[in-house]
């Protein structure tokens, strides 16, 4: 590997990161509680066709018969699902408006989020859809994308404008009844993004969605559906923030990715929901179902940096259905104070010569619990399937926990499955070494953690990698006494 002047320069560049605020925007919020009327009301509010309303009701009926899962290594007071409002929209938002019409307060909020719609516009390489509470507020670059035949819009619009695509694919990767939270989401999802990349098209820019919970006492249930048609390529980034609140906020999203023959999807997440305060009060409950299906020769990479949420329950997965398809999962999960994370992936090998790679980096500090849970399943027909998994844990202090639950189910003798795991602690000698060079302990930890996470950080698009690094630093602040 050469180390060019250019690379050296890049490494020397620095950027600033801003975060943490609350914006007071008037909003239109439903009364609390969940029943068929609310589901119908949401559908109506969104001006949805009848088939969509019915689809939601089916999901609601299934959900009613289901129980909240208990198997994850997390402990929390179960949310009272009748004590949440299932719809909240900033009043000034109108999906038909252009950016220029958007409430200046909202724009200010994006600026604080570091999204800076204007700047992104100028950069000309990131198209952004922003979801505040339950509504997509603005999608930039629609036109530029349309020239390539790329559809990128709020899912609520897609339901009206591209019903044939939505009908064909929604629920095919994550069925309504898949699990408790997915069923709930299917009944009440209020927004999210829809994306379609036509055959043979390389999406010329990063596509990006930012989710934000702003209103108190609301849940956020967004649904993302991304279809990469044959031989297409797209890189997608999802960012999240929520302001600090004392009560727990609920977030239950569903993401479905469809990679048709020869297509490639890179899906990156930087999750920064409010983790709760130092005493473990407040924070977001993040129960997310993310899954991809890969057809022949297709490839899906999930990259996630999880630093926020009080409780995280999340397993971005790949169904490697087509021969020679590839699934990748790169994850950094940081927990501090009283945070709990149970996260990992499932790689389901159905096709021949399918390959999967799992790199998981768990960092635990404070009194937090960090679990990796991964399943590698090789079907009897999946000749020549290969998996490599590496799970590294880094511990800070003596009160936190790191746990690894790797499950392997191989029904084909030709399967090659490798699993490596390490656990390490930040050493006093490493900290002193940094101190001696003028780096204080807090910064030293950030440096060591960034080094530990490097393999995964490197998978993120450049500008987000910088942001993610800062985020790691911020989330571990105060983790040493």
């Amino acid at each position: 590997m050469a180390y060019t002047e250019e690379e050296l320069k890049k490494e020397l560049e620095t950027k600033e990161y801003e975060y943490g605020f609350y914006t007071d925007i008037e909003s239109d919020t439903f009364p609390i509680g969940l029943n068929e009327e609310i589901v119908i009301a949401i559908s109506k509010k969104k001006e949805e066709p009848e088939w969509m309303t019915q689809w939601r009701l089916e999901a609601f009926r299934v959900w009613e018969s289901m129980e909240e899962p208990n198997w994850a290594n997390v402990h929390y007071d179960k949310p009272d699902f009748q004590n949440i409002s299932y719809y909240s929209a900033p009043k000034s938002a109108d999906p038909n408006k252009t950016l220029d019409d958007v409430d200046p307060d909202l724009l200010e909020m994006y600026r604080k989020l570091g999204i800076s719609v204007d700047e992104q516009k100028k950069l000309q390489n990131v198209a952004v859809d922003i979801v505040v509470d339950s509504v997509s507020v603005a999608t930039t670059f629609k036109k530029t994308l349309a020239e390539k035949g790329i559809i990128f819009m709020p899912i609520s619009e897609a339901i009206k404008e591209h019903p044939e695509l939505v009908k064909k694919y929604m629920g095919t990767v994550v069925p309504q009844k898949d699990n408790f939270y997915a069923a709930l989401n299917s009944a009440v999802f209020t927004d999210g993004s829809f994306c379609y990349i036509p055959k043979g098209v390389r999406c010329p820019m990063e596509l990006s969605t930012y989710f934000r919970i702003n209103q108190a006492g609301t849940g956020q249930f967004e649904r993302t559906l991304l279809i990469a048609d044959e031989d297409s390529y797209v890189s997608y980034l999802e960012g999240c923030t929520a302001p600090s609140r004392d009560e727990n906020q609920l977030h239950a999203a569903v993401v479905e990715l469809i990679a048709l023959d020869g297509a490639e999807i890179k899906y990156s997440t930087v999750q920064n929901w409010f983790p709760g305060n130092k005493e473990g009060k407040g924070g977001v409950y993040n129960f997310v179902t993310k899954r991809a299906i890969c057809e022949k020769n297709a490839k899906v990479s999930w990259t996630q940096v999880e630093t926020g949420s009080a409780v995280t329950w999340k397993y971005p997965s790949c169904i490697l259905k087509g021969d020679n398809s590839i699934g990748e999962f790169y994850s950094i999960a940081v927990t501090n104070n009283y945070q709990q994370a149970d996260t990992g992936t499932k790689m389901i090998h159905l096709g021949k010569n399918t390959k999967s790679t799992i790199i998981s980096k768990g960092i635990s500090a404070g009194k937090s619990q960090n679990s990796y849970r991964g399943l590698v399943q090789v079907n009897s027909r999946a000749d020549g399937a290969r998996n490599f998994s590496q799970c590294d844990s880094l511990l800070m202090g003596n009160e936190c926990g790191a746990h690894t639950f790797p499950y392997i189910e191989a029904k084909n003798k030709t399967a090659m499955i490798e699993h490596e795991a390490t656990t390490s602690k930040i050493g006093e000698d490493q900290i002193f070494y940094c101190n001696q060079r003028g780096i204080d302990t807090e910064k030293a930890i950030a440096l060591i953690v960034n080094g530990f996470s490097k393999e995964v950080l490197n998978k993120l698009p450049m500008e987000f990698a910088v942001e993610a690094q800062k985020l790691l630093e911020i989330s571990l602040e105060g983790s040493v006494g």
């Binding site: 590997m1 490494e11 020397l12 101190n435 780096i439 060591i448 080094g451 996470s453």
Partner: protein, 250 residues
């Protein structure tokens, strides 16, 4: 510049330094020699402010300021540098990134902005040439998989980057082959000036042929038992430490 007065220090309740007196003036090079376990590295750690070691008596002053309540990173900002006998590995952190962080943290402490990338680049280029360090080396994870010699050379590269006032080189010569030793020594000599000082901890006369000390001290059982000029090092090379041990036992 550095004044150590009647310094006593413990580790895990055991007294290791037992009354050290040493004054190092700007422009001077001091060599500290002595058998294994005599407390040389401990002395270096205490000067650098490692709190594994408890100072029970005496003081360390830098330019007239008592360092007792000064944290290790502040000591570094004030110009104390330690080239470690056993440099630690920091996986995934490149030498470049580490140095960038170190320099900018020191600048921040002095109320300065981050060093502009182009100045940093120039500095790195200049110092890596001084120590004949390959550019590729700078992209590698700090000390991870480095040979003994590479680690030591990297320590001196860091010293060159940080331009300390007082540099303590703890057995920097061990692990270096003769060519590397020559490069490192010539680097140290070029960095030497009338405004800074160097303390060389070593077992061997060899290094002192390249970096000529003004004073040589022998540490034994936590005390300086003999001090002299550079010829003392030669004498030690010839006779070993036993005669001194006997002398002090009396």
């Amino acid at each position: 510049m550095l004044k150590i007065k009647d310094l006593h220090a413990n580790v895990e309740g055991k007294e290791i330094l037992r009354g050290i007196n040493l004054e190092v003036k700007a422009g001077e090079v001091h060599a500290i020699m002595g058998p294994n376990g005599s407390g040389k590295s401990t002395l270096a750690s205490v000067i650098a402010g490692n709190d594994n070691f408890e100072v029970t008596q005496g003081s360390v002053e830098l330019e007239g300021e008592d360092l007792e309540d000064v944290s290790p990173e502040e000591r570094a900002h004030k110009g104390v540098f330690l080239s470690f006998q056993y440099p630690v590995e920091i996986p995934g952190v490149s030498v470049t990134n580490f140095m960038k962080t170190a320099i900018n943290e020191s600048r921040k402490a002095k109320g300065l902005e981050d060093m502009p990338a182009k100045d940093m680049l120039k500095l790195i280029r200049e110092k890596s040439e001084l120590l004949e360090i390959d550019r590729k080396f700078l992209s590698r994870s700090l000390n991870e998989g480095f040979s003994g010699g590479e680690k030591k050379r990297n320590e001196i590269f860091q010293m060159a980057m940080l331009e300390p006032k007082v540099a303590i080189l703890d057995e920097t010569d061990s692990g270096l082959d003769i060519d590397a030793l020559r490069i490192v020594a010539s680097g140290v000599n070029k960095l030497k000036s009338k405004d800074n000082a160097v303390i060389l901890i070593t077992h061997y006369q060899r290094l002192l042929e390249y970096i000529v000390p003004d004073f040589v001290h022998v540490l034994h059982n936590g005390k300086i038992v003999k001090s002299g000029g550079k010829e003392l090092a030669l004498e030690l090379e010839e006779k070993g430490y036993d005669w001194l041990k006997q002398e002090t036992a009396v």
